[in-house]
Amino acid sequence: MSGPEAGGRLDTDALLDDPRTRIVVCCGAGGVGKTTTAAALGLRAAERGRRTVVITVDPARRLAQSMGLESLDNTPHPVPLSEGARGSLHAMMLDMKRTFDEVVEEYADPGRAEQILANPFYQALSTSFSGTQEYMAMEKLGQLHRSGDWDLIVVDTPPSRSALDFLDAPKRLGRFLDGKLIRFLSAQGNGAFRLLGAGFGLVASVIGKVVGAQLLNDVRAFVASFDAVFGGFRKRAEQTYRLLQESGTAFVVVATPERDALREASYFMERLSGDAMPLAGLVVNRTHPLPEGPAARLGAQEALAAAASLEAAGTHPAAAAALRLHAERVALRGREIALRDRLLAEHRGVPTVEVAALAEDVHDLADLRAVGDALADTPDHP
């Protein structure tokens, strides 16, 4: 493989072994392998001696099962490791609603908490507002960090279409809850805004028509009870955001060797440097390296010409097929390298590592170990 010249290789083991590394955040576009990478890094760190917890968000079912996660349960569960493991691994699946509920229960007195939790508007907000999942992933990270129970926390990020959502969505929720409109609507009943003119009355009546009067009442009741907890809520989100800027945090950006995924990775890396967040490196997942041995040196043109000569002679169809297959693979590999190098040219100095596509989905600890080996660029386990 022609290695990326720019930033050299990501030294995964050095990153995981360094006691100063406390948080690893895996980011990237949807479906590129963030959850897989997070789980593989967590497993590797644990086997190399660290007390590790992995927060997964929406893992593929079989992967979750392999870590003993049967359902959303929001607390870390021990994952049994092999004999020689020197550390420990816990894993959890984020339950955003439960996390939100816990925050409410923590900040509000019991009576008020009960009111909030029963409010239909709150229930919609905590299950379907876009951004809640990201906010709650951050919240959970903050909780685990403050508990002091863990050497290393590996965080998977929600499967949003844009990697940037992980950083932006929590603020969006904060802005929404703090926004002038929600204040305005909740003030409607007591006439505070009446002085502002007829336009506002009309607006309220139109919103009422469109979303329904009941929902507006729920919003009012929600704002009235939530106001007391909102300050603390917001402060905590800001703290967690700052935690992401600390030197003990390492962002690992994951992409597949495809245009869209790499473009997403590029945006995200720019954003990290803009926000002074520490980027550890780039994982290019699901690549298709050429086979070992002499085939690595057989070019696509040569293979196609050889296949054509066999086909013309009408002999050795299996060999002709093998040669065509190889030519496809060489072309694919060439495209992957070109795409990757274009990205690295824009982001000089970013350490990179490749993980080859496994033959099947990643669904047990052995597969995770194989991905971990690839991430650390060490040969396969025996």
Binding site: L202, V211, A318
Partner: protein, 326 residues
């Protein structure tokens, strides 16, 4: 005119297939509208155009004088249009926008956003020449194609009446939702699924077809995208899949082709061949599982060097060759 809703697992090619389908339906002089609903500008980036707006505009032409127009449906624009249509209010609409009210309303009530977006597509389906909503004139569009949300969200997205039921039991929004639902359930609307011959997309397709049917909507075709023809002769497939491909025969072939170190090369290529054979057999199994759904299967080949307009036209011809037409 028909509404073709294209869904599928994320990344399987919904946007690509929707665009190819629009081209295929426009062939021979049709006028087709391509609607994007997720605000991602997938159509624009696919066609190499500046971002689409909520206003329809021509984006491609098809053989025989066909035309494809496209728009990116936008909840805010649709809501303002709707308010103006039903209440004749413009000023309040502008105040709503200024206050971020539309964002607000659609955030607290995601079902509202969905009904506004699907409503935009059903409105275009029913539109008559000259912009009238009712009447006898010919339809404005021959077909409308929607690049829809992925299978994980499609049921919710299309189940608009029950989505807004919690918001408004009576009144104009409810009435609007009921009309949209009626249009979605009519035989004029088909929900197509894009799948790959891989485990997860096929599973999502099976689940999606069942979900759509349970909602009283009509599943259409299953598009098997990025299909690759098997390279290995039939006779060698199963032995290669089991790792029993005759390596000496392979080496003999490589030698006959004049390549150096045929034995070494054969050993080094054998792994690729075996993996290919296993994949082909898996793809066959998945295809037969998809066939059991009883929906027509349409094949689209894997395009080698990225999908551009020329490649899309090629994909549209593949669809036409398999019987896709207005």
């Amino acid at each position: 005119m028909r509404l073709h809703i294209v869904t599928g697992k994320g990344g399987t090619g919904k946007t690509t297939v929707a665009a190819a389908l629009a081209l295929a339906l426009a062939a021979g002089g049709g006028r087709v509208l391509l609607v994007e609903v997720e605000g991602r500008q997938g159509v624009a980036s696919l066609l190499g155009l500046p971002p689409l707006s909520a206003e329809e505009r021509p984006v491609a032409s098809a053989p025989g004088g066909g035309r494809v127009l496209a728009l990116a449906a936008d909840a805010e624009a649709a809501l303002l249009e709707y308010l103006e249509m039903f209440y004749g209010i413009r000023r309040a609409g502008q105040a709503l926008t200024r206050l971020g009210a539309v964002d607000f309303a659609t955030s607290i009530a995601p079902g509202l956003r969905d009904v506004l977006l699907t409503g935009k597509a059903t409105e275009a389906v029913g539109r008559r020449e000259g912009g009238r909503r009712r009447g006898e004139g010919p339809f404005h569009y021959d077909a409308v194609v929607m690049d829809a949300p992925p299978t994980g969200r499609i049921g919710r997205f299309l189940n608009v009446t029950s989505e807004v039921a919690g918001l408004a039991r009576v009144g104009p929004v409810r009435g609007h939702a009921d009309k949209v639902t009626e249009a979605l359930r009519s035989e004029r609307t088909l929900v197509h699924f894009v799948s790959l011959l891989e485990e997860m997309p096929a599973q999502e397709t099976r689940d999606g077809v069942a979900e759509i049917a349970a909602l009283g909507l009509n599943p259409g075709a299953v598009v098997v995208n990025m299909a690759r023809p098997p390279l290995l002769p039939e006779a060698d497939l199963s032995s290669a899949a089991e790792g029993r491909l005759d390596r000496e025969e392979l080496a003999a072939g490589l030698e006959a082709a004049g390549l150096e170190d045929p034995a070494g090369l054969a050993a080094s290529l054998a792994g690729e061949v075996d993996a290919h054979a296993r994949r082909v057999l898996m793809e066959r199994r998945i295809r037969s599982e998809l066939e059991e759904l009883g929906r027509p299967l349409l094949d689209l080949p894997l395009v080698a060097d990225g999908v551009d307009l020329a490649a899309l036209e090629g994909l549209a011809r593949h669809l036409a060759d398999q019987g896709v037409r207005r």
